[in-house]
Each structure stands twice: as structure tokens, then as C-alpha cells.
Amino acid sequence: MSSSSTSSQRSDFISSGKPRESVNGVTVRLVGDSGDGMQLLGTQLTNVSALSGNDVATFPDFPAEIRAPRGTRAGVSGYQVHFASEEIYTPGDGLDALVAMNPAALVTNLGDLKRSGLLILNSDSFEAKDLKLAKLDQDPRQTGRLKDYRVIEVAMTTLTRGAVEGTGLSVKDADQCKNFFAMGLVFWLYGRDYEPTLRFIESKFKHLPAVAEANRRALTAGWNYGETTEDFVSTYQVAPARLPPGTYKNVMGNQALAWGLMAAAELSGKELFIGAYPITPASDVLHELSRYKHYGVRTFQAEDEIAAVCSAIGTAFGGGMGVTVSSGPGIALKAEGMGLAVMLELPMLILNIQRGGPSTGLPTKTEQADLLMAMFGRNGEAPMPILAARSPADCFDTAIEAWRIATKLMTPVMVLSDGYIANGAEPWRIPDLASLPKIEIRHPEAGTGAEPFKPYLRNENLSRPWAVPGTPGLMHRIGGLEKEDGTGNISYDPQNHQHMVNTRAQKVENAAKFIEPVQVVGDDSGLLVLSWGGTYGACYTATAQARAQGKRVGHAHLRWLNPFPANLGDVLRQYDRVLIPELNTGQLRLLINGRYQVGAVGLNKVQGKPFTVTELVEEIVRLA
């Protein structure tokens, strides 16, 4: 079911009678036990905010355990939403409001709430046992710890129980509804339309009418509570953002990536095959794609990551669009297969949704520490093009661009995303697919068979023909041993090996002919902030703020990590200093200094979390 609205019609739902305070943007974090439904609450708030025309950016953060122990600090699940009347690029640093469903959630998140920020607590969950689970000796409400904040206590559990009475739900089930109560309250507070959420409840619980009813009631009870109680003196109003015209939809990174792959398949006249082995945070790409068999998508849950990459190569050999997706440990396992793909010179995509490492690391946290593995994690000289998405919506375009280059140059291409992008959400201007440039693929046609077919004859871009089994006369055999250029026969000839190593490298370099030059936003001298991947939003925002403070700062963002855009060297040399902020210990920095020797410095953070704008601004101001 699709429903759409235009942002100009925003105001006709019943709105609060209390005074409204207009603000440009708000950052709210919803925290509670992982069983409390915080992710659902966050998603809904994101959705209705986007629907009301705000720009939004989100940051979900949940525990690694499936069901972490209830009420403990380890079990806290959070969802941060930033919505604004202007274009925004990050989920926000300091919180304007924090909604905490229990003491563990409160104490682990309080530090991020701004002074005088709004703190909404479920006062029913501050019993002795709750405090004990949170490893608290004292009730934080009584220690003065909360004195800097505007604390509003709401007996959410009690109020929810009351609201759902008569629906026939057990107390336990009734208590499950309290996130909808909290939702109603938050929606009221920020003047959000709850209609879409009512629709959501309807469709989600269509087989459980009592639960649907209870949740509906909890939601409206929460809304009404805001309107009625005197604790709240006003609501906040965030006007629609001035986004470029178009039809928008809220997307998450992994979803946009999946759709981008489907679009790439369609644009190139191919059917999509994805071979993958489940792993956090990459599994959702597989899940999403498995739902689109009627689009000709074939998904393969392989026995391991090695089989996954190999199955995608098999697909590529057969002329299909072969893709594999994984995260750090799984990508490591694909190294040998990727090396073969480089040798075979077949187009395919390897998607790495990076997570905290090394080893099993921090599976549910984000990091950018697989760049050098993407570059060098294969034996021998095995270069492949690498590009990285910068935000959830950008995953769509990234997938298309990756496939365009892969097929143009007959090469595997690595796409980097990360946990922050994968699970984050933002408004996406829905493209008109018909207007996107097609991806031209030409498979050579039947040969006479008179002469052996030459699978490694190259065109002007050094790419070889993609001859497909089933084509008469083009039979050929390829493999991982070094091959004679042209014929593709095994060759141990020293000069040929040198030639092939050079050719494979040059072919990847040739991608620079087809990619956008790097663009600078802001000043063209002074300090350049160079970013890649998921730190785009924070770097963009921080450089803008620094300029607002009168600093000479430019911002360049790299979509392509291999090859670098042709103009990158020139751009770098325009500046006095180059700062490369990364969520690793300096991986892009090594590549930039190794190649351009511009003395770039790094701001490096490896904490499983994205940059805050504040920490970036501080460093930029220090250097600029």
C-alpha cells in the first residue's frame, strides 16, 4: 500500500491547543530496554517526521545480544532522530530531548543530553529492582544528577495499562504497548501526525485485532496525555525543510543498496543474483532482496562466504549480474575468490557493510577500518575499483555506479558501506528510473569457431569481451593462472606477466576517466577536510560551521577510493593543510600521503560510533 502526501498540506490533522514554539531542528533520543520496542518507536518518529516534510537523519544503536538481559545497562537499546526544517546531514550531537524508559537507559545516555534539555522518564520503572538491574545504588532522580535538565516524569506503565483496559490483553501484553504511549506523547510534543502510525499499526497487527486496538489506544492516550497534563507548557514546531522538489521517501541504507542493485540490473538488462552468508550488519541486504523474486532477483544463502563470492563469480561467468555482500570477517574470507575475479576480469560487485573490528570485533557498531583490506587484502597485485556510499540514500546511486564501472571495465568492484549507513535512515528523492542513463553491455555474438576465440583481446579501455556460455563459436577457458594477453592461454612468460600486471592496474586506473572529478564545497584554500564514506554528513556540517566561524575551510568528499579522481592531486595541493577524519587509525591518510605526499593529518576515532559534529569542528578550528 502506498500513501503519499505533499508537504504543503501538512497542517490539517488535529493539532495541539497548547502554544507552539518554533524551532529549526530537534534531536531526540529514545532509549529503553531492548525488549521495549525502541527501534520501532524511532522508526515511526523518523517516518512521520519525514512525511511532515522535515529533513531527517537517524542513528539506531542496539545491543549485540538477541535478547540482552532485561533492565541491565547491556540491554539498553536506543534510537536517535534528528529532524529539521533545513537540510541536515547527521543525526545530531547533543540531544534536545531524551526519553528514557528505565534507569539503565537513563544513566547510560544522560551524558549526551544538552543542559536544560527535556528529559522524559517512565516513573513506573524506578523500583528497587530496576535500580539494581541498572547497577545503581541510589535512585538517580534523588541524587541531584538530573538537576540541569527539564525532567518530566510520566507513569507510562500505569497510564498505558489504564488506556488498554478492556481490550482483553494480559498485563504483560498491555505493558508491551507502552512504547506506543511514549510515541503518542512524543508525537504530540513535536506536532507530528499520528495517522501514518495508525495505518502502520493496522497493517502490522492485522491478524491480532486486540493488539492493534490496544496499541492504537496507547498511542492516542500518549497524545492526549501531552495535551492534558500541565507538565508540558508548549509543543515544538519544526517547519518543513526546503528540500529540492520531488517525491520523497524515507530509506535505510541497506534497503537503498538493495534497490540500487535492482535498478542497476534493470538499467543493464540483467537479472540480479546475490550470493551471501548472513552476517551483521549485512544480512538485511540479502533479506530485502529475497523478497523480490518477481523482479527476477535470485538470492542464494550460501554455506559460507567463500561459496557466496564464488557463486557470484559463477553467475558472472554465465553473463549474469553477480553480487555478494558481507561484513569484515566474511569479506576477509572472500579474499581468494576476489583475487580470482580480478584474474578472470569478470564484472561483479562485492559489498562490504563495515562493522567494528578487528576479528569478530563489535558486530553491531560502525567503523571504517576495512579500506586498506579492500585495497590490499588479496595475494599478489590484485587491484580493483573501490567506492563508498556516503549516506543511506546515497547507497542507491552507489550501487548503480559500481555496476556501471564493473561492466564497462570488466572488473570486480568493491562497494563500501558501514553499519551507520546501513541502519540509518534519511529522506530520499525517488528517482525517475526511466530517466537514468542505461548501462550498456555488449556480449560478443556467435563466432565461426574457425579460429579459437580470444577472450583477452582488449578494447580502448583495456576491457576484454564478456563472452557468455551458450554462444556458438566462443568457447573459451579461463582460470587463475597467469594468462597470455589476447588468447587467455596459460602463460609463464616473464614479459607477459609484467604486461598483464600493468594492464590490470591500468584498467582500474582507467576508471578515473568515467568518474566525477572531486568537488570542493567551501573555500579553495586554507584547510581542506577530505572525507570518505559515512562521515560525509558530519564533515559537511562541521566544515560549514567552521566557515560560519570565519575559518577558511573547504570540504571534499571521495566517493571513489580506487582509483582516486583524476583532479585529486591538484585539489589537495591547493591547500595549506589537509585534514582527513576517519573512523579508523588513518587508512585513507596512508593512501593519500603515500601517493600525493601532502602531509595530510588525521582525526581518527575508533569507538564504534560516528563522529560528532562538535569534535570535528573543534579539530577544524584548531587547524584552520
Partner: protein, 337 residues
């Protein structure tokens, strides 16, 4: 097919590459049989694909003039699975060795079997690592002295037929490199089977493990040491002089000296729904028993590639061919003007 296909010969399947196996290697014989049977299958070279891993045996694809992929060690089944899922129209063969299939590739091997991808996998079992110059393999007997085991290997050998059966294979057979008639027939039957057809071929590596299969190859003794499985027939060997009978659950060799009738013997049934009989047969090993050659098991089960594509069809029938523009525009949207 109604159209007249050109009559193909073994030569149509010979590539232009020099064959690089050691003189006398059993691989030659298997290659020859393969080139002989391929033209009889009604599939032209351009619709045939050979995929191999790494090893002496895995050089095979270079020598047949079809499409070919010489991949990486142990992973050929995975390449083949991806290919066949997206190109069910192609005829796919996987060529592998005992190390390739059962050592590094053991996992892909079992998952290929259980999925029942419609392809044929031929394991050249020489009980040794040929290409890396003679280390013991997963099928080498315990005590095997090799470069890496100067005091004898300790690993208990894997039985490829037992493994395939336990991994739910639908077609499981064994043949011998130099038993060319038998081998040819088995390859044809493998090709005809819908689903994963697994064929173990005893192959002599005359350089690093010469004579390993002499008991099953030598004209003089092979009738004593092997028993040919034929569907619906009793297990007779040694030119009909001996047979195999069940004693409870235990097989035993009996002399067909007149006191025992053929009806008392174990009758082979390729098609029992349980693989237990085939499994029991896989346990007959020289020298205690004659080793069965032929088809241990052949049952029908929908193939993986068929079902994958069937789900695509079904989804299209139920939901209509996907419209991507509609998909990305579905759900909650808003318009900025």
C-alpha cells in the same frame, strides 16, 4: 529436439591446448572417455561448461573445447551452483580431485549434494595430492608414507561414496579410469540424471601413487575385487562364482557353488527411498569385500536450480512481474513542490 543437429564427434570437444599430464597418468583415460561420450549427449560444446578447482585433475577444462572455468582450490561446486542457478539452460560438469573435493572443498561438496543442483561432478580419486607432488590425501589409507608423513599418515580415510550419500546425494556412482566401457556408461548415466550426479573415478597417479588401484584395475584380479552394481540384479562377482548376501544387517561373501541360489543374494536397488542400502554398499571395501562399481543410488528430487527458478516464476504469477518504479515509490512518501 526437432531440428537437425550436426553430428558431433570426440574431436569437436578437443581443445587446441597441449595436454600436460604426466605420460601414463590415468587422467588421460578419463579425458578420452569424456570426449567420447560428450557428442552422444545432444548438447553442443557451446552449451557445455566444465568447472574445476585446482589439482592435476582440475586442468581438465583446458582440454575440452567447451566453456571452461579453472577456478580455485576446492570451490568449484560453488561456482557451478551460482552458474547453474542463473543459467539452468547450460550443461555443467564439475571436475575435481580427492584433495580438491574432500580436503579443502569438503564443505562445498556436501552442500552441493544436499541442494541437488542439476550438474555432474566427477572426482578423480588418485588418493594423493598430485599437483603439489605427493602428499597424502583424505582418501589415502592410514599409514601412508608420503612427503608430509614420513612415519605414515594418521588420518582415517574418508569414503567419498559414504560422504555423498550422507550428504543426501541423489545420484552416486563409482568407476575406474581404465575400465573404459564402464566409465563411459557411468558418465552417460550421470549426464542423464536430473540433479547432482556424483561419480568417483579410481584414477592412477603413476608418479606419486602408482598402483593404488591395481586391485580394481588389473585384468587378472579385478573380477575378484570388484562387484558391478546393476539395478534389480543380485550382487554377483568373480565371473558369477561369488555373491554377496545379507546376514541380518551384515553383508557377507558367499561362494555360488550351487548350494546358494541367486535369489538368496542381495539384490541391488538404486532407487530405495532411504539411502541406507547404498550406504551399506559403500562400506564394502577391499580386501574384506569386493568393491562395488556402478551406480549406488539414483533417486529423483527436484533440483535446486529448478526450484529457484520456479520460485521466480511463481512469484511473477502471484504478484506480477516486478515494477521497480512502483516498488520504490510504494509506502509512505511525500512530495515537495
Amino acid at each position: 529436439m526437432a531440428t537437425d543437429l550436426p553430428v558431433l564427434t570426440a574431436n569437436d570437444f578437443a581443445s587446441d591446448q597441449d595436454v600436460r599430464w604426466c605420460p601414463g597418468c590415468g587422467d588421460y583415460s578419463i579425458l578420452a572417455q569424456m570426449k567420447k561420450i560428450l557428442p552422444t549427449l545432444g548438447v553442443p560444446p557451446d552449451q557445455t561448461v566444465f568447472i574445476s578447482g585446482i589439482g592435476c585433475s582440475s586442468r581438465f577444462p583446458y582440454y575440452v573445447n567447451t566453456y571452461g572455468l579453472h577456478s580455485i582450490h576446492g570451490r568449484a561446486p560453488a561456482f557451478a551452483t551460482g552458474l547453474k542457478m542463473t543459467r539452468p539452460d547450460l550443461s555443467v560438469w564439475v571436475i575435481t580431485g580427492d584433495g580438491d573435493a574432500l580436503s579443502i572443498g569438503g564443505n562445498h561438496f556436501i552442500h552441493l549434494m544436499r541442494r541437488n543442483v542439476d550438474l555432474n561432478i566427477v572426482l578423480f580419486n588418485n588418493s594423493i595430492y598430485g599437483l603439489t607432488k605427493g602428499q597424502y590425501s583424505p582418501t589415502s589409507p592410514q599409514g601412508k608414507v608420503t612427503k608430509s608423513t614420513p612415519m605414515g599418515s594418521l588420518d582415517f580415510p574418508l569414503n567419498p561414496i559414504s560422504m555423498a550419500l550422507a550428504a543426501e546425494a541423489t545420484f552416486v556412482a563409482r568407476s575406474v579410469d581404465t575400465n573404459i566401457k564402464h566409465l563411459g556408461e557411468i558418465l552417460i548415466r550421470a549426464a542423464q540424471h536430473r540433479g547432482t550426479s556424483f561419480v568417483e573415478v579410481y584414477q592412477n597417479c603413476n608418479v606419486f601413487n602408482d598402483g593404488a588401484w591395481d586391485y580394481a584395475k588389473d585384468k587378472a584380479v579385478r573380477e575378484q575385487n570388484t562387484v558391478e552394481l546393476e539395478h534389480g540384479k543380485p550382487l554377483l562377482f568373480a565371473g558369477g562364482k561369488k555373491g554377496i548376501r545379507l546376514n541380518g544387517f551384515e553383508p557377507e561373501v558367499v561362494e555360488m557353488d550351487g548350494r546358494i541360489s541367486q535369489d538368496d543374494l542381495l539384490f541391488h536397488d538404486e532407487k530405495t527411498s532411504s539411502p541406507a542400502l547404498a550406504y551399506m554398499l559403500s562400506r564394502l571395501r577391499y580386501p574384506d569385500f569386493p568393491e562395488p562399481i556402478g551406480v549406488f543410488r539414483r533417486v529423483e528430487r527436484p533440483t535446486y536450480d529448478y526450484q529457484v527458478n520456479q520460485q521466480v516464476e511463481q512469484a511473477r504469477e502471484q504478484r506480477g512481474a516486478g515494477n521497480l518504479q512502483k516498488l520504490i515509490t510504494s509506502g509512505d512518501t511525500w512530495t515537495v513542490t
